[in-house]
Amino acid sequence: MGYQPDRSQYPQQREDGSLDIDLTSGKYLKLWQGPQHPGITGNMSVELTVCGDEVVEGKTHVGYLHRGFEKLMERRSFIQCFPIVCRICVPEPDFNEYCYAAAVEELAGIQSPERADWIRTLILEMGRINSYLMYLGGQAGSLGQGVIGQWTTYVRDLMLDRFEELTGARIYHMFILPGGVRGDLPDGFNKRMEETLCEIENVLKDVYETMFCNAVFKKRTVGLGYIDPELIEPYGVTGPTARAAGVAKDVRKDQPYLVYPELEFEPVVGTDSDVYARADVRRRDLLMSVDLVRQILSKMPNDGKLMTKLPNVLHWKIPRGETYIRGECSRGEYGYYLVTDGSGFPRRVNVRGPSYTHAVALLERLIVNINISDVAGLMVSLHTYPPEIER
């Protein structure tokens, strides 16, 4: 089927490739969507040029959530960066903690204990589940289906309870320290986690029936926001967005880290590369994470150290070096590029959030020719979080 735009009034291109839009002609209208709107978790604007109800051009404007994390970290000791990093991504903060900790560990020449690696993997998969649950609610909500968000928020809240009892916090867990993790699983955690996972599976069945087997949802999302698989590489597209285009990119498999080599899973791949396919890939990926959490809890060693011995963190100096640590988060490849110069502070921390490529360059390309009412749905389907665009 596919989306059939009316191109009759589409502007001509100038010689330099830009669109020949004459705003005084009365044919076009400038429309600002954002910085607050349902298409994105956080604040970001899209400056739309519309012709009728069709978008002919969309320019992204970011920076509303710029708090200068990377710069702040250049004036913080290595341990002091630890509470900062999680704030770079609100819905899935743990990847920041893991990537930062792993980068520091590599450059400082320390190794986190095995059991800590298992718990780290557990936390990352729990975070992925939460992020996907939030996404599903957002994706449905952006197309007018508010009830899905209510259901997923309910089960996400159950997972936050698990986070709370494990890490001591619900949103910013601050649990993965350089050197290991802060604590062990509380008593009875596995049982309560199993109950939560079952509830998530139940809700996902309902989500599937109500959202994915839904004529309206299909009508609006199938064919919308198609990404040509050939664009995946040049646009730096990663994660479920790439996998929905049939490109089986998954850092967990491609460059395994933590305990992923010991877990059984295959990257979830789709074919159609549209909004529907991306939502479906994420739903299945979520179910896979549920399975991974079960695997982790059953395979994890029963005891062992949680923290390796650290030097005095108050004046911890790390030798000159640089490294890039990456991991597969719910939105794609998350990475930390850390440069140290032998002092007590990072020389440079660069955070590679997948939202940067997806929400700016890719969105500007995909947004052309879609209906205004689909903009929010398209943006959500790229699953971007602005704080990691502007760090």
Binding site: S77, Q80, M174, G183, D206, N312, L314
Partner: protein
């Protein structure tokens, strides 16, 4: 698209018949998880105000503030953390780093207040309803952000060291020094406790940076006897060290020594710097010990001319004549003394005031005079038989050993005393016994029991390793003589208590528990006093006294405006106190000289 896609969404209707998942009344009690990072608690009695929480807080949410009813004392700054919940991010690094474990977090998370300033509060002091909460984030067992274990100091093995007076302690290697320096949390509690307020965190930071010359400059800014103090300081700083609450205190004394070990001695003079231009003022100092020479060092650096009169053959005072060479090699004293000499200080040895030169002469020839004459007279137990020639005093024997006199070590020796001097003479005699007779046969009888022992624990431990027997809670009752008046031992009774109800020294004994300790010699090491015979009768009359010691004001000035006194003779025995006293006297004398100029 199929008919299922049209009908399937209607399954959502089943939710109509389910209970709501949201709480109808959001203020219902819902306790935080057992390790929830909620509002802070602080056990203010256990807290020492070290401020590591303030240091680690990346949001500057914590300020250390003075608190009523909590006094500043050794090992406690008297400050307590005040937390600003407008800045706190609940990361709990403050809890993780807390040296005493006093700072914790409750699982409470609800706090409603109309005054925004209320959210800046002092946990444990400003009473809150979560103060007694049992659940909440506590630092997990074994979770440490600072290393707790001290880097071991290598020493000579007991069987090797007992054979000679060679220095026992090896000193840290560069790698070990770095590791030990890393343990410091730079709280500064030690600076307040150190009598001479050495910049301890700063010189330890210099070790961490490998900048030993910077460290040496910091040492000699406050302590011209750093070589000496790096070896024999009583290190009160280590009793205040915040790190001891997590394990052992930082080895501050050894790190001081480590700096002096690492800088070539030829560099010292340049690092210390040249003295100020000459002022034309002259100061005489009596006694070339730590107090006198510290005053000399300070005054010389300020441009005054200083002349020191020393009764003995060599300068160094009590450290040279009271501390055995295996703890403090003489050439290390010489290094510190030579540095002071290099600043222009003249030291006249073998020059006894009262004989070679009189106090009156000094008063007339100099603008100010300092008495720093130490505690060179040993006290006697005055027990029956203590006047016997084989009963000697520890200070006299130690001095004889330093002077290189031939000493015939008896085969069996009994020492009376439980302080460091008793340990010093016991271990020195043990070495002589080993050299002369091939075996150690020495008993120390101390008035105090081991729970209240005066000597440093490491001294006691090393005595044991060297084969010296220490008997605690033994009170000397008499010297045992045979029919030919030869000394054959010491009689002691078990000590029941040392002080009476008013806290006065009045030992009581259990006479039924009597022991005879056999020996050919008894050494008394029960305390020292000052030899004030150098003062003229007239001057002694004029000066004010305080229980046998010269009375001085806070700056060390006596009741005579031209005369100061400092060191052991006014403050009791301790090298670093003497150094601190020397600084005080030097400042006071300098102000006096400036006033004189005006």
């Amino acid at each position: 698209m199929s008919i299922r896609d049209v009908l399937s969404p209607f399954t959502a209707w089943k939710y109509l018949f389910r209970d709501p998942v949201t709480i109808t009344d959001p203020l219902n009690e819902r306790p935080g998880a057992a390790r929830y990072r909620g509002f802070h608690q602080n056990d203010v009695q256990a807290c020492i105000g070290c401020g590591t929480c303030e240091t680690i807080c990346q949001n500057a949410a914590i300020d250390m503030v003075p608190v009523e009813e909590i006094l500043t004392e050794s090992g406690d700054s008297g400050l307590r953390p005040r937390i600003d919940y407008g800045r706190c991010c609940w990361c709990a690094l403050c809890v993780d780093i807390c040296m005493t474990g006093s700072l914790t977090m409750s699982n409470e998370y609800k706090w409603v207040e109309s005054d925004p300033d209320a959210f800046r509060f002092i946990p444990g002091v400003d009473k809150k309803h979560w103060d007694d909460a049992e659940l909440g984030y506590r630092r997990p067992e074994g979770h440490r952000l600072t290393p707790a274990r001290r880097v071991e100091m290598h020493e000579l093995e007991p069987e090797t060291r007992i054979g000679s007076f060679a220095e026992i302690v090896d000193g840290y290697s560069v790698a070990d020094g770095l590791l030990e320096a890393e343990r410091c949390v730079a709280c500064g509690l030690c600076v307040a406790t150190c009598p001479t307020h050495m910049s301890i965190p700063d010189y330890i930071a210099a070790v961490r940076d490998g900048d030993y010359e910077r460290g040496l400059a910091l040492l000699y800014e406050t302590n011209p006897f750093s070589e000496v103090c790096g070896r024999v300081c009583t290190h009160k700083c280590e009793t205040a060290c915040a790190v001891q609450h997590e394990g052992e205190p930082v080895a501050i004394r050894w790190l001081k020594r480590h700096i002096t070990d690492q800088v070539p001695y030829e560099r010292y003079r340049e690092i210390v710097g040249d003295p100020a231009p000459a002022t034309g003022k002259r100061v005489a100092i009596i006694g070339a010990g730590p107090a006198g020479l510290t005053t000399a060092y300070d005054l010389a650096r300020k441009g005054h001319e200083v002349v020191v009169h020393e009764e003995r053959e060599n300068p160094g005072g009590m450290p040279r004549y009271g501390i055995p060479e295996y703890r403090l090699p003489y050439d290390m004293i010489d290094r510190d003394v030579d540095l002071i000499r290099s600043l222009g200080v003249k030291i006249h040895c073998n020059s006894r005031v009262g004989t070679d030169v009189t106090m009156d002469q000094l008063q007339q020839e100099y603008d100010a005079v300092l008495l720093s004459i130490g505690l060179h007279l040993g006290r006697s137990t005055r027990i029956p038989g203590s006047e016997h020639q084989q009963v000697t005093k520890a200070v006299d024997l130690l001095r004889a050993i330093t002077d290189g006199e031939e000493i015939e070590a008896p085969r069996q020796v009994v020492v009376i005393g439980g302080g460091n001097v008793a340990m010093d003479i016991a271990r020195s005699m043990a070495r002589l016994q080993k050299q002369q007779h091939g075996e150690v046969n020495l008993t120390v009888t101390a008035l105090e029991d081991f729970a209240h022992f005066l000597a440093d624990p490491e001294e006691v431990k090393e005595c044991g390793e060297e084969g010296i027997e220490i008997l605690d809670a033994r009170g000397p009752q008499g010297i045992m003589l045979d029919e030919n008046e030869n000394l054959i031992g010491l009689k002691t009774w078990h000590v029941v208590s040392i002080f009476d109800e008013q806290g006065r020294f009045a030992p009581s004994y259990d006479e039924s528990d009597e022991q005879i300790h056999q020996g050919d010699m008894v050494i008394e090491a029960i305390g020292q006093m000052t030899d004030v015979s150098l003062l003229s009768e007239e001057l002694t009359e004029k000066l004010e006294w305080n229980r046998g010691r010269l009375a001085v004001d806070v700056d060390g000035r006596t009741s005579e405006s031209w005369l100061w006194a400092a060191g052991d003779c006014v403050k009791g025995p301790d090298v670093v106190h003497a150094v601190a006293d020397g600084h005080r006297a030097a400042n006071s004398i300098d102000s006096y000289l400036k006033e004189k100029t005006v």
